[in-house]
Symmetry: C2
DNA sequence: TCGCGCACTTGATCTGGGTCAAAGAATTCT
DNA sequence: AGAATTCTTTGACCCAGATCAAGTGCGCGA
């Protein structure tokens, strides 16, 4: 079975700025070469739609840079974001014809893609890719279930705080360490996108962010740049006891 | 790649009343025998806890009969159900130490289990088991995301209707055909469990069920036995356009 | 430089669903 | 059978967050 240790010695995949977790963990040379053969890049501008719900999806891939969202829409226009794709996240599912969700770039976005058919073929020949994909899908499932708790049971203030902790954590794993408990990052989402993720209206999002600012839980420089003076305090506001091992 | 057709010719696994989808699809004789060696059954009474969140979980398995739930709890006692385990559903995750959720039997429950280590070993030797597991996990992920839309954006009435369609569908796949559009089933959950699943209170669940009854969308015999005279109407109430291919 | 548009904030009011409280049904125990 | 317990319904009231409606402020193109 793969575990943390075996995954971490992954080989970087070609010229990607990040090793994409799906395919390069425990790469061996010949596999890496086979992947290189079917790999290609796609770039999107902020606001551009990567794929519409229901459309045929003939590729899988991972986010190299930028942020994309997965959203579901009801006939009457109500929308719910069901996934936030940050760098290194995987998109698309082997064995499925079409996309079940709208995938939209919320910032400029670069993806590293593989045509689905050859990728599936490779997956059959290379068991550890299937294992890695299973592991990633289980992680996504956990994240989705954690979010169900947020959507079903948390207050608006807790929802905002929960979203901020997620973004802060993901950012922290990419950036420099900051002084103990202090975190600084940019919001990659508009207030409306945050509302779609949280099952709220954009007005409520705005009000709650103002309230967190007023109460000193966060500070804002401009509208998007956030400083969290005390991450533990934010976690408390999120109603979240586990700190996910982020703090020393 | 596995598809619907190859999965459906599965061999029944020993004396299980159902073929468990995880391991028996495309069974070949020697694999089936290896599985038989590590297989065992566990029974639980209604209300009994299968495993507590955080506990070490040294098995995986599938539900043979009865119903179990996956729940998350916050420190202050708020709970959110994040999964409903019906017969043939798989529990547990290869490569993980402990359970992330409370697993509770809501009815009398029989599970078909495999000790985790030998199951993992087998999975490494038998690629199609890993593929099948990946497929099932992707299905669960889709279900979780569908539920995020329900939790985030639907009204109480729509939430109840959505839950009823899910139970009705699962029931229909196990039971006899009923006249066109008519469906009959028993609610396997208390009002409180339904509330936990839907992110509501039990009072609201009760009120909305009464309202659906008053409006002729459903009929009740006793408190748990439900008749749906027109399934399409129920789908409409759920705010769900897709009928999932259930109706001819 | 002006003004237009977009993202955001803030206020006033309304309402769906939560909360608190009190009774019914059903089931099990004695 | 009667009592106790558990599940469910229903009512009265309240509040968090939605809705409706003005603004504010910043960036950008003409």
């Amino acid at each position: 079975m793969l575990n943390e240790k075996t995954v971490s010695h992954s080989v970087e995949c070609g010229d990607c700025p990040i090793r994409h977790r799906a395919v390069c963990a425990r790469c061996e040379t010949d596999e890496l070469e086979r992947l290189e053969e079917i790999k290609y890049y796609r770039s999107f501008e902020a606001g551009q739609t990567v794929i519409w719900s229901g459309d045929r999806m003939d590729f899988v891939g991972s986010v190299v840079s930028g942020i994309a969202t997965l959203t579901q829409t009801m006939e009457d226009g109500r929308t719910q974001m069901v996934g936030l794709l940050l760098p290194s996240d995987f998109v698309g599912r082997p064995g499925r014809e079409g996309s079940a969700y709208d995938v939209v770039a919320t910032t400029d976005l670069v993806m590293c893609c593989f045509r689905k058919k050859p990728f599936e073929t490779m997956m059959e020949r290379t068991p550890h890719i299937a294992h890695r994909l299973l592991e990633m899908t289980l992680d996504e499932l956990d994240a989705a279930r954690e979010w169900m708790l947020v959507l079903g049971r948390k207050t608006a203030r807790e929802k905002i705080a929960s979203l901020l902790t997620i973004i802060a954590r993901r950012d922290a794993s990419l950036n420099l360490q900051t002084p103990k408990g202090v975190m600084v990052f940019d919001l990659p989402l508009t207030r409306e996108a945050m509302a779609d993720y949280l099952g709220l209206t954009l007005e409520t999002v705005s009000r709650q962010i103002s309230a967190l600012k007023r109460d000193g839980v966060i500070a804002l420089q401009g509208k998007r740049h956030v400083t969290v003076p005390d991450f533990a305090r934010l976690l408390e506001e999120a109603g979240d006891d586990s700190d996910g091992g982020m703090l020393a």
